[in-house]
Amino acid sequence: MKHQFILSLFLFIWSNSVMTQEKYCPYSVSGKVLDIVTKEPIANVTIKIQDTEKYTLTDKVGNFLIDDLCSNNNTLIISCLGYSGSTSHHHHENGSLPHLYLTQKVTGLDEVTVQAQKIKEKGTETISQVTLGKNEITGDATQSLAAALSGLQGVTFTSAGTNIQLPVIHGLSGNRILVLNNGLKHGFQNWGTDHAPEIDITSANSITVIKGASSVRFGPEALGGVIIVESNSLRLNTPLYINLGTGFQTNGGGINTNLEIVKGSNKWGYFLNGNFNKIGDRKAPDYSLTNTGKEEKSFSFGVLRHLKNWDFKIYYSFVDQNLALLRSSIAHSGDAFVRALNSDAPIIIDSFSYDIDAPNQTIQHHLAKAEINWYSNKGKLSLRGGMQLNKRDEFDVRRNSKKPIIDLDLITYDYQLEWRHPNWSRLDGLFGIQYFSQDNDNNPGTDTTPFIPNYNISRYSAFGTERLKFGKNTVEAGVRIDFEFDDVRGRKANQNIFRDDYSFANLTASFGYSRQLSENTSFRTNLGTAWRTPNMAELFSFGQHGFKTTFGLLRFTDNNGVLSTDDILPLDKSVVEPEKGYKFINEFKTYRNGNFHNLTVYSHYIENYIFDRPIGVFGTIRGPTPAFIFDQANALFLGADYSWQKELDKNISGILGFSYLWSKNIIENVPLINQPPISTSLEIQWDQGKVWGFKTSKWIIRYSYTFRQLQAPRTVLPQSLIDGSKIITIDSEIFDFMNAPRDYFLLNLSWNFKWKNLSGSIAAQNLLNSRYRDYLNEMRYFADDLGRNLLFTLNYSFKGKNNK
């Protein structure tokens, strides 16, 4: 058998700073180099610190140590006999003992790639999680945050068309997913399927998905999981780096361009980032999707000031979006809705245009953050303060008005103080307190009863997590308590004022265990609970938006089967309860002989799970109109994510993925609605390495198959409700207006290359131009999903030679 050239090195590096010394150069780096296949230590590997004269060789057992370093941010140049040199940025924050795991993958004799595996976020070590790096994110610079993550097992998105996509983790979405935007909970109108987080992914350096229920450290309510978006991490001692990217896509005639500038000296670090996207009407295989374009502008910058034992960071980002929604998704009456459902093609199809007309949304989101970190032998202290302003206007197709139907300003303040204590014997952990507030105001002039009331939320929180390591075992526990006070002011349909105020105490707790079963195999398990306060839309939604009318939990009353929306129940007098989720998640990872298996199995029980569902078509003067209400039930979710990566050859690897979710309303023993169907994917990667004058050339072919959702509720056609052949009451079994769409295959292909300072890709999405509708896309009622899309991207990057 041919000798495998794949030599992988496992590198454990830890660093130590000697704080008591008054020397100018108190830092050190030490580590161990191992062959990942044989597990043998590798001796005589050269480790050099870039831009210094300092270097060392690993000893017989692979260990190395370099001390008296003058910076806490070092670039290691690792070279091993017979292999070309490689560099690895090593940035550590003193006062703690971070592990930086480096997996070296050597493809061919003269190519060494170092992939830094991000250290797990504190307090979540025992929860299944995965991080996407810059390259994986920006393959398609125009895609949404949710779409970028949807390749991960167990993660998908729910959407209202291509422009508005919300991440779904293990069947949960909306504000059950905590989106952490540069350390702050992204403060936006987080309700419904038509509001996605306004985050420009080209500004992200990494995106981490935590699939557990118990993100003790990051915030309450994250029953589904946490998505951590981080921009450039602001490094010291980094040479000037400029990246200019541009792209074109055929479907929608989309163009995008982005620029990033990064530099770090020994006291300062900064980055600047800007992005522009414009896309016109997209195309399904058979027709144009009229009014589906978007325009997006974003800008961000960050500055780091480093003093001895102190780091000061500021960060600002601005995102401006104008997102069109499919014109044919607006049906102003039951008859029009029936026609739209029964029609194979959308009712309104115009020729291609970049114009964005109603229905559409315009959003401006500002985020400003200041952060101070203080390092000492008493641990690390972080103080973070943030302010966000989210301005949102939504336009429906309206009878006599070009005015927005929703016009909201949401201001969010967030202060966090966190102390990561030094090791207490073997205990490692952190404690923190947080104050979070939101102020939502309706701007006058919508000529309609506010869909969402004005409100103020104040939340006071405290949390702590501890981790204990013994041998190959890690035990982790965390608890968080939140006190939330809500004050609500709104209008009834007759314009009378209503008020409500209430408070909730929410508990989040997590207990986990992980064990390194062998060098190649690890197991982690976590039991967590998270509670969630019903959000404003779930409680107070009122009225017509898009093709339907929606009524929140407090907005309708049931008088012996007759629904009324005239009165508003005070929360205290209603039966509404907060959601309480209990999630048990287990992850098993093993690597052997070129096979990497990752299996995650979970069960999630949610008490008082809140969801919206069709309740019927109700007579209005315009004709029967589809109506949705919010409802609560106890729900059970059982699922598994599996991936198997196999090295087929030294240059070719295959990844098989599978996600399965079973869910049920266990009170009434009926299915839930809008849950992700089973999906599988097969990806083949062919890394050609140096070929045809390119530095790298890599092909990826990805085949995905999504099953029909077999657990969809029964179908009750709106025409049978209109003609009275079916009668639905509030006690009737859950239903949907349309059958779940059929299963579908999608084929994607991409080629990535690097040539001198240029890198780029050519990619085809839905190469076969398959007709399909996605069950989690609300537009499935009206039109097919996107047809073939060819994307061309080109990046020019410039890297300065030194860091002066």
């Binding site: 003093l307 000529d447 349909a493 315009r622």
Partner: protein, 204 residues
């Protein structure tokens, strides 16, 4: 060392000062009263005998809570006499407001964006004959009014009932809003529906 500290605190103050000043301002703003533009609660069909202005037949449809979930109620059936000619006009109101708002005026102002369409039991009328223009826009309806482009509106129409009695027939009236859509050939499925009401029709 002291100098360092001082500088740190100054930086800290700078970073957080601005944010702290602007936060913690709890307000008690209530959304301003909005004037519901798009709500119609009451539509009354007024059939007036062309030969006798005192012979008036009215039929009303009412949606008491507008966008609320309450069902539309058809308060009357349309009971016409056989072999007579009537002029049909409308009273269209939003009664959620006090006093009620007359939407008919609004439709008149935007006549070139609106058209009424009708559907009824086959041959209920001798004029217009047939079953109305909801299914086929070119079918006959006796419109008495035109917009500035010469296209029919339908705030006033003329109807001559058949001589044969009819019991339990239907009469549908649909008002369409067709901004930039209304032409001489646009039909009952073009544009947005302002109202669509189905009445029982009796002729005796």
């Amino acid at each position: 060392m002291k100098i360092h500290r001082f500088r740190n605190f100054r930086l800290m103050a700078l970073l957080f000062g601005t944010i702290l000043v602007t936060s913690c301002s709890k307000d008690d703003d209530v959304p301003e009263e909005e004037n519901e533009l798009e709500v119609i609660t009451d539509v009354t069909l007024v059939f007036t005998n062309t030969a006798d202005a005192n012979d008036v037949v009215e039929a009303t449809a009412q949606d008491p809570d507008g966008i609320g979930i309450q069902e539309l109620v058809i308060l009357n059936e349309i009971d016409l006499d056989a072999g007579k000619t009537y002029t049909l006009t409308f009273e269209i109101f939003n009664n959620l407001e006090t006093p009620g708002e007359d939407i008919g005026d609004e439709i008149l102002e935007e006549a070139n964006e609106h058209q009424f369409f009708f559907g009824f039991s086959d041959d209920a009328f001798t004029n217009p004959a047939g079953n109305g223009n909801i299914d086929t826009a070119s079918d006959p309806i006796s419109y008495n009014d035109k917009d500035e482009n010469g296209n029919p509106v339908g705030l006033s129409t003329t109807w001559t009932t058949a001589v044969t009695a009819l019991s339990g027939g239907t009469f549908t009236v649909r008002l369409k809003h067709q901004p930039d859509v209304k032409t001489s050939t646009s039909g009952a499925n073009d544009g947005e529906t302002d109202f669509n009401l189905l009445f029982s029709l009796n002729i005796q």
